[in-house]
């Protein structure tokens, strides 16, 4: 259906749409999703802002090169489910990525409109079409290739693992996902809170994979229950490792083992996966602080501090050793945190924690920092200002300063090469590891990164694994 489109010069006059969302004072009392999503008419108008420029820098700005102008055109034409399918050609998780991708650094950053005006709200539209497709039950099973009789094991069910599973099952392979926790989804279920990514969306992605024939084996820790080698012994023809970056870093300063000091992984897992926010209906308890300090400036820190507010904190602080400009969190999350009343202590670093006789944290001594020369990461290095120490009263501290890689699989897989940070070494074109038939991708390869990069790595790995599997099949039964 060809729709007559607005003149290009008029398109520039349309202001970028806003996102309707819960009021800050109301939303800090619940765990419901903050943005409501776009209305149909708003989505169509927003998509019509696209100038259809020939270079389409947005496509190159997307780590998985989604055909953005293509899907925007379908939105303008009112074919929302078609638009969702267009995205899914390269990104299997649009409902999730529309919510959690740092669009302002990717596609929207390079949108030609952003030079003089504001970029097309690509993220909002991605979310809109994916929600439309799901809510209207328009999700169609893709065409499935005939069974190849080959078996693939996917270790870890984060965005990397889910993407590999989806792509390989479509190509006719028998795929089993092994997940250590009792629910699949990785960080999407245990880390990112409900108010930012409703768990039913992750669940529906997993249900969809199950419908396509992917077998989920939850509560199975590879390296403990079976090693990678044993998976091959069990008849798997190829293995993908997508186990994420799940080993929390701590500050390594005095008093860090006091009660009331959590890693963000523990804090968020208690609240999200174990639903401690609903204690005692759910049995897992969580410490609800009144004065809560969250250390760090990434998405994990924002998720933790906003969770603390929702659990009743009177003062919720972000304590970050650099300045706001260096904070790695998505702009929208920082903005939401500010609206909700989070207090930002920038250029501040804790030096020790102070506790009472029962071992509970009561205060945190901090030092003020200033920015020096750029370091390896290209960001200006924070330097402590001597004598600037001060204490902050806190009864809960969440350490959100990143993760290292979990050694369980490398330790139990002879010949699997890792780098000095413990990340699995791969060939970036194929995600192939040093072990024949073993591929890896996502945070276990890159260190803590993003959902879309993990999903993108999954795409690349799936393609290479398919090739590997088909060659293997040829070798086994050439006449088949």
């Amino acid at each position: 259906m060809a729709v007559e489109r607005i003149q290009k010069k008029d398109r520039m006059k349309i202001p970028r749409c806003g996102m309707p969302e819960q009021e800050p004072l109301e939303r800090i009392r619940n765990f419901n999703e903050v943005p409501f999503g776009l209305a149909e008419a708003v989505a169509v108008l927003e998509a019509s802002r696209c100038l259809e420029c020939t270079k389409a820098p947005c496509v190159a700005g997307c780590p998985v090169e989604v055909d953005i102008p293509g899907f925007l055109t379908l939105v303008v034409e009112g074919d929302f489910a078609g638009a969702a399918r267009k995205i899914k050609e390269t990104n299997s998780l649009p409902a999730i990525c529309g919510r959690v991708c740092p669009q302002e650094e990717q596609c929207e950053a390079v949108c030609i409109l952003s030079k003089k005006f504001t970029p097309v709200a690509i993220g909002y539209l991605e979310r809109f079409v994916a929600d439309y497709e799901r809510e209207n039950k328009l999700t169609r099973l893709p065409e499935m290739a005939p069974s190849t009789g080959l078996k693939v094991a996917v270790v870890g069910s984060g965005p990397a693992g889910l993407t590999v599973a989806g792509d390989l099952v479509k190509l006719g392979h028998k795929v089993t996902i092994f997940e250590a926790l009792h629910k699949p989804g990785g960080v999407l279920v245990y880390g990112i809170p409900e108010f930012r990514l409703p768990k039913k969306i992750v669940q529906s992605e997993c249900d969809f994979l199950a419908e396509m024939g992917v077998d989920f084996k939850n509560s199975t820790v590879i390296g403990k229950s079976d090693t990678i080698d044993e998976l091959f012994d069990m008849g798997y023809d190829a293995v993908f490792i997508g186990t994420g970056a799940g080993l929390p870093n701590f500050m390594g300063i005095p008093g860090e083992n006091l009660i009331g000091i959590y890693s963000s992984n523990e804090y968020l897992t208690r609240s999200n996966l174990m639903r401690a926010f609903d204690f005692p209906t759910y049995d897992t308890p969580i410490i609800k602080g009144r004065n809560v300090a969250v250390l760090g400036g990434g998405n994990t820190a924002m998720d933790s501090v906003r969770t603390a507010l929702r659990l009743g904190a009177e003062n919720a602080y972000i304590v970050y050793r650099r300045s706001e400009a260096e904070m790695p969190a998505r702009a929208e999350e920082i903005h939401h945190a500010q609206q909700e009343g989070v207090q930002f202590h920038m250029l501040t670093n804790p030096v020790r924690f102070i506790g009472d006789d029962s071992g509970k944290v009561t205060a945190m001594e901090c030092i003020t920092m200033k920015l020096g020369e750029p370091d390896d990461s290209g960001r200006r290095r924070p330097i402590p200002i001597e004598g600037s120490n001060f204490t902050l009263d806190v009864d809960l501290v969440v350490v959100a300063i990143g993760n290292s890689s979990n050694p369980l699989i490398p330790q139990t897989t002879p010949g699997l090469e890792t780098n000095r940070w413990g990340n699995i070494v791969v060939n970036e074109e194929s995600m192939k590891t040093s072990r024949e038939g073993v591929y890896a991708g996502g945070d276990i390869v890159t260190g803590g990164a993003t959902v879309i990069l993990a999903a993108g790595a999954g795409k690349v790995a799936a393609r290479a694994m398919h090739e590997f599997l088909m060659t293997k099949k040829e070798a086994i039964a050439p006449d088949d």
């Binding site: 250590a180 939850n218 509560s219 199975t220 079976d226």
Partner: protein
């Protein structure tokens, strides 16, 4: 979902559950643990391995009713199911031939030292086992330990059975005797493990303890299980649960174990008083 073969009361507060998890049992070694979830709202609770019947694929866990989750576990009937049982987790207990080796089990810790005794015996050790409880009616596994050990000493705090006194009294006697002891391992309540570690320090006998901090995932992801050992912080679920008792900060462990005491007691009492609570009187009385 893992099938429960039987689930029986073996003491005023203690229950014994056998779960059919053949794959896990085939892989598990003494000293490791599993994490169990009973129902959708339930916690993930770590449980020591208290027996491995490899022939029949059965895992034994022995648990004490101390709160809502463990109380709920008592309601699972024979031939029933639990939601999940993940494992084996953690590192296995060290097995070697040290000549003579002593195992000390207190309270619920009497359970996990049983499979360790079997493994140490098989490795050629002369195994001396000391088990203790407050009173006779709390003791269990006496026959099992008798069969596994070369020498079994049973103690009760109140003198209602066996040696009147603490496991540490018996241990001290052995250390003061001619017996040349190459290894000691103690599992039980934190105060008991601390006493044993303090006692053996001057004798210079390696003394290992199995720590039971609060856990969530059990895979090294959350750090909730951190314990201080010497100058370093360890994650008990992946670096342990066994550690050198002479290095462990028991004080910290005790405090961290109490982190949620009020919330947990509150939840337990609410649960006991709720009209839907179907716990047997036997369990309610423990609350």
């Amino acid at each position: 979902m893992p099938k429960v073969i039987d689930n029986i009361q073996i003491g005023p507060q203690n229950w014994k559950m056998r779960v059919y998890v053949p794959k896990l049992v085939a892989k598990a070694s003494p000293g490791q643990f599993v994490i169990v979830r009973v129902n959708e709202e339930g916690e993930r609770v770590p449980m020591s391995i208290a027996g491995l019947d490899r022939e029949n694929g059965l895992l034994t866990i022995i648990y004490q009713v101390v709160g809502k989750t463990s109380a709920l576990m008592t309601t699972v009937e024979a031939d029933g199911e639990i939601l999940d049982c993940v494992g084996p987790l953690g590192l296995a207990t060290h097995v070697d031939n040290w000549g003579t080796a002593i195992l000390v089990g207190g309270g619920i810790g009497i359970a996990p030292i049983y499979p360790i005794a079997q493994a140490w015996k098989e490795a050629g050790n002369r195994v001396i086992t000391i088990i203790g409880a407050r009173s006779k009616n709390i003791l269990f596994y006496e026959d099992e330990h008798k069969a596994a050990a070369d020498d079994l000493h049973v103690c009760t705090d109140d003198g209602s059975y066996g040696h009147h006194g603490f496991v540490s009294d018996v241990l001290k006697k052995i250390l003061d005797s001619d017996e040349k002891v190459g290894m000691i391992m103690a599992i039980g309540p934190v105060p008991m493990m601390r006493v044993v570690a303090n006692l053996t320090r001057p004798y210079d006998v390696p003394t290992w303890v199995s720590l039971n901090p609060l856990m969530v995932d059990g895979t090294g992801m959350c750090g909730g299980c951190r314990v201080a050992v010497g100058d370093t912080t360890k994650f008990a679920c992946v670096d342990g649960p066994d550690f050198d008792g002479h290095q462990v900060d028991f004080d910290l462990l005790t405090k961290r174990l109490n982190a949620y005491k009020e919330q947990e007691q509150d939840a337990f009492h609410r649960f006991l008083e709720s009209p839907s609570c179907k716990l047997s009187e036997a369990v309610k009385n423990t609350g």
